[in-house]
């Protein structure tokens, strides 16, 4: 995984709440056994017409959002299916940052989607509703608007003459993970002795029944 420090790129907006992972990448593309090749199929049902041509009404097909790398959308992005293919598709399409609003106490991103994003270096930025509304407005007003997302400083800055920037909160370990591009399995394996020790005491301590190999089917 590449490390994430600061990203500058063009903003695209998608004004819909509750975008589920079935929309991000429909089922027919989950049959692949590879980790690549999903970018073309991102938002497939919205992005292409029945004849396979790009749907001109779909936001990401509009010239003003060409080559955008920051997607700004609404609450509960990535809900539904656990498919990590959704994150692979967003990243392989060319997106580096997704920005969405917290709505009251409701987090901006669905849990599993958020976890999958971290593993793939896709930064999820949670702002409040008024801030996201402002980005929507500014993106509508200034064609080709870019933003700089600085993870170290936890700040989104719109690249305008008048400085508009927003601070965002992020979990400390998620931030470190993204900045350093860590191999999480490698890190956990450094704790192998603790896992060994845990396994020795676990069946008796919790009386969780661990299957014996003799119980295994033929």
């Amino acid at each position: 995984m590449n490390s994430f420090e600061s990203h500058r790129g063009k903003i695209a907006t998608l004004d819909r709440a509750n975008i589920d992972t079935d929309q991000i990448i429909p089922k027919q593309f989950l049959k692949s056994i590879k980790r690549t090749g999903y970018g073309e199929s991102l938002f497939f049902d919205w992005r292409y017409l029945a004849n396979g041509k790009p749907n001109p009404d779909f936001e990401l097909n509009q010239p003003r959002f060409k080559d955008a790398s920051i997607l700004v959308t609404r609450n509960n992005f990535g809900c539904g299916s656990s498919r990590e293919h959704a994150v692979w598709a967003l990243v392989q399409y060319g997106l580096s940052v997704i920005i969405a609003p917290k709505k009251g106490e409701t987090p901006a991103f669905a849990d599993i989607f958020h976890n999958n994003s971290v593993k793939n270096g896709l930064l999820n930025v949670e702002l409040n509703e008024a801030e996201v509304d402002e980005i929507f407005q500014m993106t509508g007003r200034y064609e080709g608007l870019e933003a700089t997302v600085n993870l170290e400083e936890q700040r989104v800055t719109l690249n305008l003459p008048e400085e508009i920037s927003f601070h965002f909160e992020i979990d400390r370990t998620v931030k470190e993970h993204l900045i350093r591009g860590l191999d999480e399995i490698g890190l956990t394996l450094r704790h192998e002795k603790e896992i060994d020790a845990f396994e020795k005491r676990h069946p008796s301590d919790s009386r969780t029944l661990i299957l014996r190999s003799s119980d295994m089917p033929g």
């Binding site: 079935d22 049959k31 990590e84 669905a110 896992i195 919790s206 009386r207 029944l209 299957l211």
Partner: protein
Amino acid sequence: MGKTLFDKIWDPHVVSERDGQTLLYIDRHLVHEVTSPQAFEGLRLAKRKVRRPDLTFATMDHNVPTEDRENIRDEISKAQIEALSQNCREFGITLFDLKNENQGIVHIIGPELGLTLPGTTVVCGDSHTSTHGAFGTLAFGIGTSEVEHVLATQCLVQKKPRTFKVEITGRRSPGVTSKDLILKLIGTIGTAGATGHVLEYTGPAMRELSMEGRMTVCNMSIEAGAKAGMIAPDETTFQYIAGKKFAPKGKEWEKSLQFWRSLPSDPVATYDRELTIDAGQVVPQVTWGTNPGMVVDVDGVVPSPGQVPGLARTDHERALEYMGLKAGTKITEVPIDVVFIGSCTNARIEDLRAAAGILKGRRVSKRVKVLVVPGSQQVKRQAEAEGLHKIFLEAGASFRESGCSMCLGMNPDQLQPQERCASTSNRNFEGRQGKGGRTHLVSPEMAAAAAIEGHFVDVRRWK
């Protein structure tokens, strides 16, 4: 301070803690063909092994055809299914494949094989892993990177979720099912209403549910955004588990019972959030839109934009357009083309019995195509032993082999554009059951009655 059911499972599974992150031990890892190939490939590339193949169990369910399973015509599906067989051989994992008598939807076979046990942690690369929480299990869905992490380490790095108690008081009226209770909850708190939380369902209306009914409730916890859903184990749970293939036996059973009886939340335990729903006020539910939170009472109408709290007007209008519905239309006047009775939500034997109870001695409407897909080979055999398959066939429905089928249409069972389906599954997302298809989520009883009439009916008043 007392401990919740969640605490009593989480705490003893903590391997280590650092910086607010927990290394959590996983007791059962269930694997299927769609979200695992890249994880196995990752292991190969890094020259890693599966740490506990004895705690890892696999089946094939998402891609599998429900007719003629010997000849899978979709070459890409076939390759994915074969990749799982190959990976299980290479890494020494038990696989319930298409020839196995225990094959079925991963969340149906876990419980019916006794792999799902109270007090344990269960994960699977599938969001509906929350199903297993019905046993007093901490069970949640993970992505493929996490699947690889569990394969390699039998652990997951987790941040402790918050807890959310949902007490369901009162008694359900006849015709109201566990599906209606969970749809009502999602309609009340929204599809992100429980994000970051583990739901614990309590109260008399939960206690009186069968294990099948409890699994339906926990299954759809993810549709409210929850990390997991769980229900404390009780005598109903123990009766279900007793004698199952992998369940503890003899002395181990007695020891297990003692442990399991200690799991229910302490009376003084506190939760981060709490909500109460009166089951007596719940009526059969039908979704009208494109997520499970867009749901109304069967005796209601399709709501108008601006009427639904928290739903933006534009999102509401888009949902109506996609669904081909006009605001104000009575739900019972919405005609349907297809009925799907199946999925990890509602394809257990009790669901099939409920549907058969409605269909017995009747014929489905000429305009409706009806698909009954048992959740597993065990469910299928049981249904056949009880003669349910004959009821379905005589009513004009088709009765198939087990798998996920039209819940997500990765196999040939798909809706055509604009086809409208009464479905016992869990997601009414755009295109979920087939591109352009329109899904209404309902209980098995509601689906079966709609199959006969060709439109939705209120099963409470229908004869």
